[in-house]
């Protein structure tokens, strides 16, 4: 035991019962993919890089949904509400403050915090009111649709916050992008290579952070209460507190997606909280495999890329195909398509190694 116990513990929690992937093989693969992602902008043109930033933006919300739904067993239909709340927050703050002195980064942080506070309030009534199952889905969906309706009717000139016009259904635009102060020579993270690296770094941090969280005592309780909430409570766990905490973390991640998206496109509309928007994260997570954050991450990126490729033929077709994809997943691989592939290959690999041995 040359390592300090603390280090051991942290290392141990990067892999564990709640996350797929362990050992040298997995982490070599992880580093390889990460290295590829790092050198990618050197070989791609700016438009494609910006496109990838767009994909990455959504993954935070998907990982959050995976946390509460896949691990906690709580299907929230309303994660896009927090996406929208944080997006509008970022817009209102940066339009008023500007982006100098790193204020756009402060606005990003505050937008995520506001999304977390709203989630804490809503979640308190949901979980301490012991609302669960399908009713929780209905309440969260209603919440996001109410947010959408509300923002959609803010077209009039009286709907301004400081200098920021909310602009109703047309959406709010013109907020500055993220800007890092740099010795009087600010780095503007316009949809481009710098923003790509910032978001890639955030993504890696969130992914690894979630792995550690999920394999910690907190994660143990989360999967325990998904499996048998009554038993979890009868082991002395205040399960509502765990559900609320997971919900708040998930919503802050949705908020992070929303604020980053708004900074990326300098644009946010009420329809980002609408019915279609609400359904999409559920499709990404279900198709990837909600039981694991890695399958969710991979699945989300694959589905987003597929969706993008299909919109060339018209977004209606793409949406119908998304729906079809969800139905196929539910019928053929209820644990998720990426998860299904993972399970199949491990089973084949085991059989193969067994035969090789005998």
């Amino acid at each position: 035991m040359a390592n300090s116990p603390h280090k051991m513990l942290f290392h141990k929690r990067l892999e564990g019962p709640q996350t797929l992937g362990k050992g040298k093989g997995f982490w070599s693969g992880f580093l390889l993919v990460l290295a590829a992602a790092c050198v990618y902008p050197l070989f791609a043109d700016g438009y494609d890089v910006g496109n990838n930033v767009y994909f990455f933006n959504w993954v935070f919300m998907a990982l959050g949904l995976c946390l509460i739904w896949g691990y906690g067993g709580i299907l929230s239909f309303g994660q896009v509400a927090f996406f929208g709340i944080a997006g509008y927050c970022y817009g209102i703050l940066t339009i008023n403050w500007g982006a100098a002195y790193g204020l756009s980064l402060v606005a990003l942080g505050l937008a995520v915090v506001v999304a977390g506070l709203v989630a804490a309030l809503l979640g308190y009534f949901l979980f301490y009111g012991r609302i669960n199952g399908v009713f929780l889905g209905i309440v969260t969906l209603s919440f996001t649709l109410v947010c959408e309706r509300f923002m959609a009717q803010t077209a009039g000139p009286q709907w301004t916050v400081g200098t920021a016009r909310l602009n109703g259904f047309n959406g709010m635009g013109g907020m500055p992008p993220l800007t890092i102060p740099w010795f009087g020579n600010d780095i503007i993270l316009f949809p481009d290579v710098q923003l790509y690296y910032l978001i890639l770094a955030l993504l890696v941090a969130v992914y690894l952070g979630l792995r550690v969280l999920l394999n910690s005592r907190f994660g143990n309780v989360l999967v325990a209460l998904r499996d048998n909430p009554e038993r979890a409570e009868m082991l002395g766990y205040d399960i509502r507190r765990y559900q609320l905490t997971a919900f708040v973390i998930a919503s802050m991640l949705a908020g992070l997606s929303g604020a980053l998206y708004t900074a990326w496109g300098q644009y946010i509309t009420p329809s980002s909280m609408g019915m279609t928007a609400a359904a999409l994260p559920i499709i990404w997570v279900a198709v990837g495999g909600r039981g694991d954050i890695t399958t969710t991450l991979v699945g989300t990126l694959l589905v987003l890329a597929g969706f993008q490729a299909l919109t060339v033929y018209g977004s209606q077709y793409a949406l119908v195909l998304m729906g079809a994809l969800l139905v196929i997943t539910v019928l053929a691989a209820p644990q998720g398509l990426v998860m299904g592939v993972v399970n199949l290959t491990t089973r084949l690999w085991r059989r193969f190694t067994k035969e090789a041995r005998s």
Binding site: P5, L9, P17, R217, N220, V221, V223, A224, R226, D227, N228, E230, R231, A232, E233, M234, L235, G236, Y237, D238, I239
Partner: protein, 242 residues
């Protein structure tokens, strides 16, 4: 000793499910350190009484006290933290998680690091589940599930252990072994309240017995007094019970 505070006490406890009076004016005292069995025909309200004690149901009327403190409306997890632990009638385990993981979740509030790993190992051996440690708990046999849940309940180091039909589905040997485990725990100071149908088992462990009938306390005494009571025999016979 006679005036010591009961570890658990109910005062005028009642529960209605709609028009169904499932718990009827139950005044019940459990002395610290005893093994007490709760018997009664099917549907007598034994499991419901447990759920009231644990806060899974709220009483329609009456009070519940643990070590002299009122816990009538306290949430379940808080009662557990006071020192109550339970094994349910329907096996309450984490079916989708592995056996050792089940134990880890039960133990992690009390232990961590190497001490946690050591205790999991010890419990696996004690429960005879070492070979099943990596199996999903849902894949265990019925008896093994019962054992696992008893192990999880015990691992909280409770002052009061509630067991709802702990030996259902066990072979006579397993039943007897369970009785010995309960007696060993009791010797360490754990108070036990067990619901049981198996009279041989009740005879093996019980120091006092309470008979519940239509939700009310029907009789109370030693096992010999209860067996000798014709009225008790009658309610069981009335149900065609053996």
């Amino acid at each position: 000793m006679t005036t010591s505070t009961p570890i658990l006490e109910t005062q005028g406890l009642n529960k209605w499910f709609g028009g169904l009076h499932v718990t009827n004016e139950v005044d019940f005292r459990l002395d610290p350190g005893e093994i007490h069995c709760l018997i009664g025909p099917n549907g007598a309200g034994k499991s419901t009484l447990f759920k009231l004690l644990l806060g899974e149901h709220t009483p329609s009327a009456g009070r519940i006290l643990f070590e002299g403190k009122e816990i009538t409306i306290e949430p379940s997890f808080a009662r557990i933290r006071r020192g109550i632990s339970v094994k349910f009638q329907v096996p309450g385990i984490f079916k989708e998680l592995r056996v050792h993981h089940n134990l880890e979740i039960a133990l992690q509030r009390r232990l961590k690091g190497d001490a946690l790993d050591a205790e999991i190992e010890r419990l696996l051996g004690f429960l005879n589940l070492r070979e099943q440690a990596d199996k999903l708990a849902g894949a265990l046999s019925h008896g093994q599930k019962q054992w696992l849940e008893i192990g999880m309940a015990v691992s909280l180091r409770p002052k009061l252990l509630l067991l709802d039909e702990p030996t259902a589905g066990m072979t006579p040997d397993e039943t007897h072994a369970t009785g010995e485990v309960i007696q060993a725990l009791n010797a360490e100071g754990v108070t036990v309240l067990a619901v049981e149908h198996d009279m041989a088992f009740v005879r093996q462990i019980a120091q006092r017995v309470t008979v519940l009938h239509f939700g009310a306390v029907f009789a109370q005494g030693t096992i010999d007094e209860i067996v000798a009571d014709d009225r008790v025999a009658a309610i069981y016979l009335g149900q065609g019970y053996d």
